[in-house]
């Protein structure tokens, strides 16, 4: 948001003046991530994950484009061309490991970004649209990551494609037709691989587009902050440049160190050995699991083992629940009626938030384990909490909770009451 005290872009060089008249791109950048964007001064490190997520997308697009220069999207050559990249292409191993671990890094960062939103109530008015677009981005990421995992055409690629497209066959009446249509056949084959490659190349650019909308929508009310108290005066904000450029900048370094440790020293730690076996449509691996970032949702899917109310088949229930587990996020701005945004001032909500974090970790652990006892029962209990949390606890708590007193302003939360009064008077 353009607060009245935000600096305006004033080009000095004649060329920049000319440019500003014809195509005010520098002005756009200045107002988006430069000195013209005023940001709450009290953002903590959880606010860095948005920027890092953008970096991850850039890493994925750049490494993906160069990998596509060597990859062959054909079932006869896909696996071998992947190995060709690993062995013969100059720095191919770095590009491929960078891309595979880049997907994991992207999800780590985005999960942190989403849970930041849960804790600090970032989804609440006036930022509902920012949140809705964010959920859309997450869904697109899931689709992109899934299709990318199919491309090397290893055993997990193939059986992942089989199982995940199989979800759609649970839909009553049209399910089987839809399933066949998605695959372009009766089992994953060349048609499937080719369309997945095409879409895997397309979707990141769609994500990029939605990210632009996400940031646009964010700039209308301006960034939220850890107190949840809206910006009141000039002393509450600092310009994005240089303050948050410097802060995001050094955390990029920190992020790249951790990411590079995976790429160079444990590149297969997050992968599954079975994907180094070429796809074999005649033999299912003993233990099919998706990539780790899908495990919580996979656990929910597998938790439904009985037909429900004698009419809803367990298979359909699992699929419905898995989608509902994410789609409910779309309704969050209206389910949570508490006028207080930040979990820091919501003692009851905060407790449930931490239970949710633990619950999702448990779901993830179960989702990555074999579909047998005791994991199924644990996953069922964890899934029950997951649905209670979003569908029941969030709406109920927001009605009955007595929030803690909020600070008067952002400045006060940073400097304390006395100094803040001085600073605000000066501002």
């Amino acid at each position: 948001m353009s607060f009245p005290w935000a600096k305006t872009y004033t080009p000095k060089h004649p060329f920049m003046v000319w440019m500003d008249e014809k195509l005010p791109l520098p002005r756009l950048v200045y107002n988006a991530v430069g000195g013209g964007y005023e940001v709450p001064r009290n953002l903590n490190y959880f606010w860095n994950f948005g920027f890092l997520a953008g970096l991850c997308l850039v890493i994925q697009i750049v490494s993906g484009i160069v990998l596509a220069m060597h990859y062959g999207g054909d079932t006869r050559v896909a696996f071998n061309s992947t190995e060709h990249i690993m062995r013969d292409v100059n720095y191919g191993w770095m590009l491929r490991y960078g891309h595979a671990n880049g997907a994991s890094a992207f999800f780590v960062v985005v999960y942190a970004h989403i849970f930041r939103g849960f804790y600090y109530g970032s989804y609440k008015a006036p930022r509902e649209m920012v949140w809705l677009l964010g959920v859309v981005i997450f869904l697109l990421m899931m689709a992109t990551a899934f299709m990318g995992y199919v491309l090397p055409w290893g055993q997990m690629s193939y059986w992942g494609a089989q199982v995940i497209t199989g979800l759609f066959s649970a839909i009553p009446l049209v399910g089987d037709a839809l399933h066949t249509w998605l695959l372009g056949g009766f089992a994953p084959d060349n048609a499937t691989l080719n369309r997945f490659f095409s879409l895997h190349y397309l979707l990141p650019f769609v994500i990029l587009g939605v990210i632009i909308l996400h940031i646009w929508a964010l700039h209308i009310p301006g960034s939220s902050n850890p107190t949840g108290v809206e910006v009141k005066s000039e002393s509450d904000t600092v310009p994005f440049y240089p303050y948050f450029v410097a802060k995001d900048g050094w955390t990029i370094g920190l992020f790249l160190i951790i990411y590079s440790l995976f790429v160079f020293f444990m590149p297969n730690a997050l992968g599954h050995p079975d994907n180094y076996i070429p796809a074999n449509p005649m033999q299912t691996p003993a233990h099919i699991v998706p990539e780790w970032y899908f495990w919580p949702f996979y656990a929910i899917l597998r938790s439904f083992t009985q037909d429900w109310l004698w009419i809803v088949p367990a298979k359909l229930m699992g699929v419905l629940a898995m989608f509902a587990a994410i789609l409910v996020w779309f309704f969050l701005p209206w389910l949570d009626r508490s006028p207080v945004r930040s979990g820091s001032y919501r003692p009851l909500y905060r407790k449930f938030f931490w239970v949710l974090v633990f619950d999702v970790l448990v779901l993830g652990y179960c989702g990555g384990s074999p579909a047998e006892q005791p994991y199924v029962m644990i996953a069922q209990i964890a899934s029950i909490y997951y649905f209670l949390h979003f569908f029941v606890i969030v709406p109920v708590v927001s009605s009955i909770e007595r929030p803690d007193p909020l600070p008067f302003s952002i400045t006060e939360s940073v400097l304390g009451h006395e100094s803040a009064a001085v600073a605000e008077a000066q501002a």
Binding site: V66, H84, V89, N90, Y91, V422, A427
Partner: protein
């Protein structure tokens, strides 16, 4: 923002401090720049030929069956190579030319190996725009100068595969090669 109360920084910053701070900021931005440039290296070098392509860059050809006046084609780096057994007449024709009149002055001797002067080994790639000239295959047109003729844009090569007429700027390229025996040549 010096007007912020409660800061522990002196409002008057001495020159030494400013310079040190600027230095760190410049160093940090430079390091980011160096990092960015470093990342470009693998991104660029991945487009260069990969190890399997480079591994195919030498080939051995047995040319025992090529009679004088005939030629054969071989493959080197996925491109045709012409191996031609020149007749004494063709050698004579090539040597009779005044080298200084040529667009790309070279004698036949410079284009063959000592002891194998009758073996003319050149790339079968026209130096104009890369078509394959005619003249190496059985019954193909050899052009006005009895060597090779490129049908794409009409370049004419003589019996030493030198450009004589047409748009090509250079003689047909002689690849690096050596004779490993009297009937086998290793190209590349």
């Amino acid at each position: 923002m010096a007007h912020d109360a409660g800061t522990d920084t002196p409002t008057v910053i001495d020159g030494e401090g400013v310079r040190r701070r600027d230095f760190i900021n410049i160093a940090a931005v430079s390091a980011a720049g160096v990092g960015g440039l470093t990342v470009l290296y693998p991104l660029i070098s991945q487009m260069a030929p990969s190890a399997d392509v480079l591994a195919e860059s030498s080939t051995q050809v047995d040319f025992a069956q090529v009679q004088p006046g005939q030629a054969m084609k071989a493959v080197f780096r996925k491109q045709p190579v012409f191996i031609r057994n020149l007749t004494p007449k063709e050698i004579q024709e090539a040597e009779a030319v005044d080298v200084s009149t040529l667009r790309d002055p070279q004698t036949l001797k410079e284009r063959t190996k000592p002891g194998h002067e009758n073996w003319l080994i050149t790339m079968g790639v026209c130096t104009h725009l890369g078509c394959i000239p005619l003249g190496a295959g059985e019954g193909e047109v050899r052009g006005e100068f009895g060597g090779y003729f490129c049908p794409c844009h009409g370049s004419q090569y003589d019996t030493a595969a030198r450009i004589r007429k047409g748009p090509a700027p250079k003689n047909l390229e002689v690849p690096p090669y050596e004779f490993t025996s009297d009937t086998v040549v290793k190209i590349g």
